[in-house]
């Protein structure tokens, strides 16, 4: 091997070592532990094969509920963040006044910790003294006041709404960058040809934005599948297990000291994320043709 080929490896070796040490090795260890009965009550680690995976996927309907909740959360928040993010981006690049100020305000929840956002929204959504219900009641709309975080019907939608509110600003910024990169010539040519708003949107904007949409979708989906903080802070998975997701179950398994089971849940999540991400990238990463 000549020096020119070795040179890039020489510079990237540090990063590769750190990547293997802190990313690859723990992930492989986690997969290994998912096949053991590793727990906090004993120093022994016995190989148990697929026992944890059988418990999760076939033995206990509760785990299937966690998987279902995770997928539902991911689907709804991904679509909502993408649609709202795109809508806001289109609005802000269309010449609206004080666009930078609006952009900053909409983006600002993104920089806040979900711990803070969760505590604020827990207070706002309190069924008795929360701002939302108090406002609704003061407007005579008592029938709209709900137990937002405590009812089976409203708990999950409430978490999704708060999460969407927090995350849409980031997606909006991605779309603004994508929109600003589209050459104006296309729109001018389309206008000369007599194209209207919707034709420009579907024939120019969305196809040209496809790389950004792909990135936004993958980001939204991987975030959605990994969701933990939003659920933990707002409902702790309740009422009952109604809002529990895979990661709250992972946390709960680790907290109980059932580390082998927790590792198996993490491995399942990893596999789901890998498969979904792979197909999304393949489906959406097509070349734009005009």
């Amino acid at each position: 091997m000549n020096a020119n080929k070795i040179y890039p490896w020489y510079f990237s070796s540090g990063a590769i070592v750190l990547y293997i040490l802190f990313i690859v090795a723990p992930a492989l260890l986690g997969i290994y532990y998912s096949f053991t009965d590793w727990n906090s009550y004993s120093s022994e680690k016995n190989f148990v094969g697929l026992e944890h995976f059988r418990t999760i996927l076939a033995g206990d309907p509760t785990y299937l509920l966690f998987i279902k909740n995770t997928v539902l959360f991911t689907l709804v928040t991904s679509i909502a963040k993408t649609v709202l993010g795109l809508f806001l981006a289109l609005l802000l690049v269309s010449g609206v006044k004080a666009a930078n100020l609006h952009r900053m305000i909409i983006f600002s929840p993104q920089v806040l910790s979900f711990l803070i956002i969760g505590l604020v929204f827990k207070s706002l959504l309190d069924p008795n003294n929360g701002f939302v219900n108090v406002t609704l009641r003061s407007l005579g709309l008592d029938f709209l006041a709900q137990n937002w975080l405590g009812s089976l019907t409203w708990a999950m939608p409430s978490i999704m709404a708060v999460d969407t509110w927090k995350g849409m600003g980031y997606i909006m910024v991605l779309f603004i960058a994508g929109l600003l990169a589209i050459p104006r010539d296309y729109y001018e040519a389309a206008s000369i040809d007599g194209a209207g708003f919707w034709q420009k949107l579907f024939k120019i904007t969305l196809p040209m934005l496809m790389p950004t949409i792909t990135i936004a979708t993958v980001l939204n989906i991987t975030y959605g599948l990994r969701v933990f903080d939003a659920v933990y802070v707002l409902t702790n998975g309740g009422p009952g297990n109604a809002t529990d997701v895979i990661n709250t179950a992972v946390y709960s398994s680790f907290a109980k000291g059932y580390w082998g089971l927790g590792s198996a849940l993490s491995t399942i999540l990893f596999v789901i994320m890998a498969i979904i991400s792979f197909f999304i990238i393949r489906l959406m990463n097509r070349k734009v043709e005009f």
Binding site: A3, I6, W9, Y10, S13, G14, V17, L18, D37, N39, S40, Y41, S42, D126, P127, N128, N147, L149, G150, S151, L152, N236, G237, G238, P239, G240, N241, A242, Y251, S252, F254, A255, K256, G257, Y258, W259
Partner: protein, 434 residues
């Protein structure tokens, strides 16, 4: 040559990374000035809410230069958090854990995680009742201030008198008086599912009633000769809780209630009854002076229970982290806080506990309590006598919240309890479950 350079570079990189990590680690426990800081991790209810421990810790710092840094975590998260911290070697220098003789060894793994206090002078001064809850294999590991714990239903005498009602002795009476209270737009019974644990109390504090009705129940459960699902009285209590929820006796939207807000609701007479421990009168009347002499108590009548449930442990005990960098300072703090005068200060400065697990400290039980307890049978609560109940307390709390919301049935709750008991028994290789 190139390969050699590459190897040298990699080795240097690893060395620098290692040094950086080591530096970060040592910076965590040392403040550079030589001053020692002991971290003290606890749940909210693990130390008095009056702040007496924090006040005393400041004085201790002035005396000794050792700072106690309190890390107070909500009750619902602490049980899980401390287990993870212990397992990962990240536990505070001093940590509080709710203790009982059955689950403390599994929760704390004292031989690996706790400083042995057996030969400390103060270990011999704790009451005989508390010692089994903080000991393992004949060694003392924990320091507790907790009294033997009893949960009574506290009631507002004025509301009861105005409505012409008496403390109930059966569930039917309990329901009847709750209906009368609700008709006055007052919440009959304050329930607090948002804290995660409070709603579980009626199930297992009435355990002595199950044992009283069918002697040997606890033993059979421990030997896996019967299931929790076979306890028909327990199912009745769960169904009664659900009935109270459905009838609105816990109030509207009570699922968001927290334990901390209970005193306010009771003190402001928004709720007529709540579950609390002896000494509640002091805490309530200090915040709401008009409530003084306006509070009575009775044993919880779920499942027609009339036996007082006593938990010899059940509350938090302090443990010194065996892997702490400052074990001697931890011991010195324990020696200081357990000096007679300081014990008295903790007792006097707390929310109002009427007893403490140190016989040298004079209890403050009023004649009302002494008379009441003379006239009722007492028994050990289920979580302190039956294995694998206490460790799943928060899970059961979630299940009950789910039942209140309509997601679970009492039968499912019982089945879940048995399932989790079996899981833990399996992990602990309990012979009765093999």
């Amino acid at each position: 040559m190139m390969k050699k350079r590459l190897l040298v570079s990699l080795a240097s990189l690893l060395l620098v990374s290692g040094l950086l990590l080591a530096g970060c680690n040592s910076a965590k426990t040392s403040e550079g000035s030589g001053k020692v800081t002991l971290t003290f991790g606890t749940s909210q209810s693990g130390i008095p809410r009056t702040g007496i421990m924090q006040t005393m810790a400041k004085e201790y710092e002035q005396e000794t230069g050792v700072k106690i840094d309190f890390q107070v975590v909500p009750d619902a998260q602490w049980r899980d958090l401390i287990k993870v911290k212990l397992a990962s070697g990240e536990a505070p220098d001093i940590f509080n854990v709710d203790v009982d003789p059955l689950s403390m060894p599994a929760n704390v793994r004292p031989e690996e995680n706790a400083i042995d206090l057996t030969n400390e002078e103060f270990a011999g001064r704790m009451s005989e009742e508390i010692l089994p809850t903080v000991s393992y294999n004949d060694k003392v590991y924990g320091v507790s201030f907790a009294p033997s714990k009893i949960w009574y239903v506290y009631y507002n005498k004025r509301i009861f008198n105005e409505l012409g009602i008496e403390p109930p002795t059966t569930y039917a009476e309990f329901k009847a008086i709750s209906e009368k209270i609700k008709a006055q737009d007052i919440i009959p019974f304050y329930q607090a599912p948002a804290s995660g644990w409070y709603q579980v109390l009626p199930l297992f504090e009435t355990g002595p009633n199950y044992e009283h009705t069918t002697p040997g129940t606890y033993e059979k459960l421990n030997n896996n000769e019967m299931k929790v699902a076979d306890l028909t009285q327990l199912k009745t209590v769960i169904e009664q809780l659900k009935e109270f929820a459905d009838l609105g006796y816990f109030g509207k939207d009570f699922l968001s209630n927290t334990v901390e807000a209970g005193i306010e609701a009771f003190g402001q007479e928004k709720a007529a009854m709540l579950l609390r421990v002896p000494g509640t009168e002091k805490e309530v009347s200090e915040a709401y002076p008009e409530m003084e002499d306006n509070m009575g108590f009775f044993v919880m009548p779920w499942g027609d229970n009339q036996t007082i449930g006593v938990n010899p442990g059940g509350s938090a005990a302090m443990f010194g982290n065996k892997n702490s960098k400052h074990p001697e300072e931890v011991l010195k703090f324990f020696r200081w806080i357990t000096e007679h005068d300081n014990l008295q200060r903790v007792f006097d400065g707390g929310e109002g506990n009427l007893t403490i697990c140190w016989p040298e400290i004079e209890p403050k039980l009023t004649q009302d309590y002494i008379d009441y307890e003379k006239n009722h049978e007492k028994g050990t609560v289920m979580q302190a006598a039956v294995k694998y109940i206490d460790p799943q307390w928060m899970d059961i709390g979630k299940d009950i919240s789910g039942m209140f919301a309509g997601a679970m049935t009492p039968d499912q709750i019982l089945q879940n309890i048995d399932k989790r008991r079996a899981e833990q028994a399996k992990v602990l290789k309990d012979e009765a479950w093999q």
